[in-house]
Symmetry: C3
Subunit: 274 residues, 3 copies
């Protein structure tokens, strides 16, 4: 199942419109090329809708949001919604400032998202308005896994979107369904933008697998984590986070559907009554 989603992505080569932060834009672009998709970055409000209309998926990442890119996100998102294209939200640093919290709330109110990908503090900030974010590379783990699962499913139902809550155990929730994923390596937290990259990858998987959103997002999470594992095994003892960053994306470039299926540590849970 997971391997089919990667095969579809490689075959369809979707064009993903990214309105994303300048810190990790290059990594996201190369990651999209590594997985078989193509990137287009365009964030001026005057062209955002037009670019979205030529794409097969849209990523909105709040990393370095500003007064110019926020209206571009809205315009691109509305166009993508009108055309039925999947839109992914990465609420980087949500809760860390009023601008981020209000922008995230505005986007959630105005747009339909296919998926929302963040760490637990970011997703919580979206859901509750509380502020507990520590930078953009940090993760909170202040609740038991079963509580996090219920929280993610509730958020998914509320927003009508797949919610990917990433942490030591990744939770992908879609309504009453969910998948728990244990791929990944702690050193990924020492590379800037692995979360941004996963969100871009999520948009690519969704664009190529419109009928299977839970599987598509789960496959993206598994693939990113598995590449983090593969890359870590290849890391020399003198190498650090820059070598690791490159090896993760290179592993994705070489990842086959079969390898993904064999390496994925995903457990799909039976649907739960609410």
């Amino acid at each position: 199942m997971l391997q089919d989603t990667l095969a579809a992505l490689r075959k369809q080569a979707p064009l993903i419109h990214c309105i994303t932060n300048y810190v990790t834009a290059n990594d996201c672009a190369n990651l999209l090329l590594a997985c078989g998709a193509s990137p287009v970055m365009a964030d001026d409000p005057a062209e955002a809708a037009e670019i979205a209309a030529q794409s097969q998926g849209l990523l909105l990442n709040l990393g370095t949001l500003n007064q110019c890119t926020i209206p571009a996100m809205l315009a691109a998102g509305r166009q993508a919604n009108a055309l039925g294209l999947p839109v992914v939200l990465d609420p980087v640093g949500a809760g860390a400032s009023r601008l981020r919290s209000e922008t995230a709330a505005m986007l959630l109110s105005e747009l339909r998202f296919a998926a929302i990908r963040g760490n637990s503090s970011e997703i919580k900030a979206l859901a509750t308005g509380s502020s507990a974010t520590r930078g953009v590379d940090a993760a909170l783990s202040d609740q038991a896994p079963e509580d996090a699962l219920g929280f993610a499913q509730e958020a998914s139902r509320r927003w009508g979107a797949v919610v990917a809550l990433t942490g030591p155990i990744d939770i992908v929730a879609h309504g009453t369904q969910a998948c728990l994923i244990q791929n990944g390596h702690p050193m990924m937290g020492r590379v800037t933008g692995t979360g941004c990259q996963l969100s871009a990858l999520t948009a690519a998987f969704l664009a190529a697998n419109p009928g299977a959103p839970l599987e598509a997002v789960s496959a993206a999470v598994c693939a990113m984590g598995l590449c983090g594992e593969i890359a870590h095994r290849r890391l020399g003892r003198l190498e650090g986070n820059i070598a690791y960053r490159g090896r993760i994306i290179d592993a994705l470039y070489r990842l086959t559907p079969e390898r993904l299926a064999a390496g994925a540590k995903a457990r799909f849970l039976p649907p739960q009554s609410t």
Copy 2:
């Protein structure tokens, strides 16, 4: 001949002012340092002309153009024109939005370019206003090479600029003259920004070789493609597009004039009557 242009570039170490997209700005800066030039990135309208005046060449790249950087491009371009510095246009994504098409048309109308570097869909969009761009990493190859040559030469005469139309076979046209280049490797399309990097390299070669624009642009195209070939031969079987990206720029860092002359697959055509 080609080797002389690289020797001149290494000797003169021109400072290249880049108004370029944030996705590949770091790659362009390191590529300029690799070839022997120096980069300066500055895109606020309030300083663009001043920075241009201290440079030996100017690159205008439309990749992530916005309402702030467009007037900066115009101001820098006018200053560079007034001082006789070479200006290179990379019309990234031209045809993909009205903003890009109109900005490109405005710049072509207001400025004199030494060279324009794009894929065939971008150059066609500039010439005809038609829209056939698919993202920024795609290339159209919908015409026979001889037609593309005639098209590039016509565009060159119209704009008074060297036109570098890159694709499976690269065409560098200057009025009635032209050069066909077959360096490169298809995997370069899986690295974001190799086109942007080539445009930056073009500006550097032009700045160091003011009297030989066709040779300078051809040398840049050959050098970039040759480095793509060298880098691909060095690529390990587990490596992907990130390793490849680095090896391309590293190959340029180590490229000697002799190696360029030996590896260039360039054919200068006899001047054609129009």
Copy 3:
């Protein structure tokens, strides 16, 4: 002493708010993660003060300053000053345009900096208003070391900040005290952003060592230069500036306090009467 500052940095893992240029933002973020700190990049005026308030240090880098980020720098700097957080200024390209010179002067007038890090042409431009900058990767060496030392100490006293004047010999001055550092490798000038990275590292060292500013800044300068030396020894003969860039940051990732102490070529001078 120097090793203690790195041990403190690794232990405290400060969050560093960076308002910096888009060219090297990714490198700065990964460098901060490599040294044990965490980055947060946020440059909209509407959130700059809030983000600064959640950080332990602030970096203001003028590399690609614009009309939006200048007020963000001021707002973040005032908040950091109010909270007693260390603020580092990297006056990239100061002297190269009126916008840069005036912005630097405004920031020096409105804010208290813990440290100012630049090459001699940039620091001179700040101190005298003269313009002698050639791009952002160039360095001027038009004065004898003893003159440069006196100049740096005078600038330090004038601004009430540690001044790190980097060049063939790096000078770190704090009032009547100073440290001369001879780590580094000339090839670092062929990698874009090594100066930006050093400024980010300086902010991290200062944030973790509030009571020892001269030692903290000196340790940052030694660490960056030492990593440049280590990385150069590991460079293969076919590798260029991209491989070198990665190896520098990777060396920092692996740098131990003991290794720093053993490799630092720092000479602390006895305090001088003024």
